[in-house]
Structure formats: C-alpha cells, structure tokens
Point group: C2
Amino acid sequence: MGTFSASGLYSTIGRHYTLAEQIVVLRLGHRIPRDLRVTTHVCLTARAFGADGLILADVVDTALEKTILDVRQRFGGNFWIRMGEPWRKTVKEWRSKGGEIAHLTAYGMPLPEAMEAIRASPSPKLVVVGAEKVPGEVFEVATWNVAVTNQPISEVSALALFLDRYFEGKQFSMEFENAEMKIVPSARGKKVVNLTKRGD
Amino acid sequence: MGTFSASGLYSTIGRHYTLAEQIVVLRLGHRIPRDLRVTTHVCLTARAFGADGLILADVVDTALEKTILDVRQRFGGNFWIRMGEPWRKTVKEWRSKGGEIAHLTAYGMPLPEAMEAIRASPSPKLVVVGAEKVPGEVFEVATWNVAVTNQPISEVSALALFLDRYFEGKQFSMEFENAEMKIVPSARGKKVVNLTKRGD
C-alpha cells in the first residue's frame, strides 16, 4: 500500500495542508443552520482529541468555518476544516489512497471489541459521523461500523470516546503550537496566559 | 453525613423517583429553542453513560422532555429529567444533603488528576455542565472544577469522558430495563430486536 499521501486530497480552508493525515473526521448530513452548534461541537472535540482535520460533506457553512478557525487562531494547532465536497467522492479518494473508514453508529460493533483491529492497522482513518440518519451505503463502504454503546447517544460523545480510545488518552497531554492563549488549570476560577505578549 | 436520600428532592417528569442517586447531571444556561439539540445530546449521553437523571436549570423545555422520555420508553432504563428549578436552589439542596459537585469546565483541574479524589468519595455527585458561559459563582460552589482537556471542546464530550472515567467504562456493558427494543451489534447494517413481541 505504501505511504499514505494526502497531497492533492486536501486543500484546507485558510491554508494548504500537505502533511500525511492520521485521523480525519467526515461529517455527514450537516444542515444549515440547524446543525451549526452540534457540528461545532464535533469539530472542537475532533481538534482537542487529536484529529488532524474535518471534512464537512456536501455543504459549505461559512459560520462554522469562522468559529473553528477562530478557535485555532486563539488556541493553536493545525486543525483544518474543508467543506462542500460530495461525501462519495471523499470516501472514494480516501479508499483509493489506502485509507480506512470507521463509521460511528449505534448499530455497529462495540468500540472495545472493534478498537483492537482499528489500532492494529497503520492506515490513516476517516472517522464518519452523521447527523441523524446516514445513507445505508455508508454501512457498506465502512471498513468498520463501530458503536459507542448500542444506545442512542450523540455523535459528539461517540467521537470523543473513539478518539480517546484510539489515542489512549493523549488528549490530556497534547500541546497546540502557535497558540495566542493558553488556559492554566485551576482549582477555582479562570486563569489564562496570553502567549502573544511573551518575550516582548 | 449519613445516607444520601433523594426523596423529596426529585420528582421525575412522568413518574416519581425515589431511589438514592449516584450521579445526576445539572444543565445550566439552556436556552429555548437554541440549545434543544445540544441539550438533547447531553441527556442522551448522560443516560447511556450511566447517570441517573438530569436537572434542567431554570427553564422548562417540553420538546426536550418529550424526546428524552420517548427514548426511555423505547430503549428502557430509569433515566429521568426534571426542569425549571433555579440552579442555586438545586445546588443548595444537593449540598445540604451531603452531595458533592463536579463542575466541568476547560478552566478546571485535569480530569486524570481530579478523578482519583472524585472516585474516592462515596457521596453522590452532581455534575454541572453549562451552555457557553456559566456564572462565576458556579466555580465557587463546586467541590471540584474539572477540565476534560484545557481546550474549548463541548459539554457533550466533556460529560462523556467524565462519566467514562467515573464508571470505568461501564457504559459498554450496561443493560437497560423494560426496553421495547434493543440494538444488536452488527458488522454491517441495522439489527434491532423488538422486545415487546417476545413471549407473546
């Protein structure tokens, strides 16, 4: 299969992305403006839990883009967002490059069982999360259909648990490059360091 | 401190709840209709990850109530929802009964550090999750201010990780009583068993 290269596959909104990806989230079924808040939560969770970027299928939502790029500007890191491409095209290209697909659905195999095989594979992973119903075709194209409990939950918490298990909790020790500000953990209150003023 | 009794404290919408609680979620700052979807995700995550119930502070949202009671009807369990009480009253009563409060905030102490003390305490826990900004007072009344990463994420994924660590992954083996239907894990497609037809 060789090295996975994302060049040509991604053009990040705001800047071009050229590094090989390990985990990218594909968000299906986003409706404007109904899903703005939930998809924002999906993006923020993806970013904070170690995903490289998110592809919003089929639609362009400039309000979402603005929110996420603003968070990246302030809190750092390289999380990118890309929008408007038909999801079948994204999936086809991902697979043609040797990438694999984990679709999060309450109907899938339990995460604790599925995760062993997923982590054992070195291929980049496209993690598919839908808003409400997803096309039946998604269950077929997925390498794995994965359930974060077989109960109705939320694509936000499903993604959080998937990434937590995939990266074995790395989100708690991640650092984000080029941040303008950083929260300092406190027992009480809010403590924020402004990094742009450092060394002036 | 004695045994924690929730009687008199909770009257579940739909039926009266009398058992002692271990984990109850308090949702602050819910706005109608803006937060319906996100708060629904908070409720579903709370239910599926082992919380006993959720208190929606200050407002009554009948659309939310309907959605959550419908899920309970179909998928079982005793998850309850209670609405409209001022949050200060809820907090005061909770503390007066010997309960403790974990407030989830990006400004708090890292979950992996905080969790040891939280799990070591036998008292019932009120887990506070806000929508956007919460009153500064909440940071003061909390027993613990807990950060699920010090990054902007989502109260949905914060709650998911908190409950996952608190219950040590019990959400993957939980069974819900009196369910009408149950999802059967599948590698492909959707498999659901209708439990109401069993034994007829």
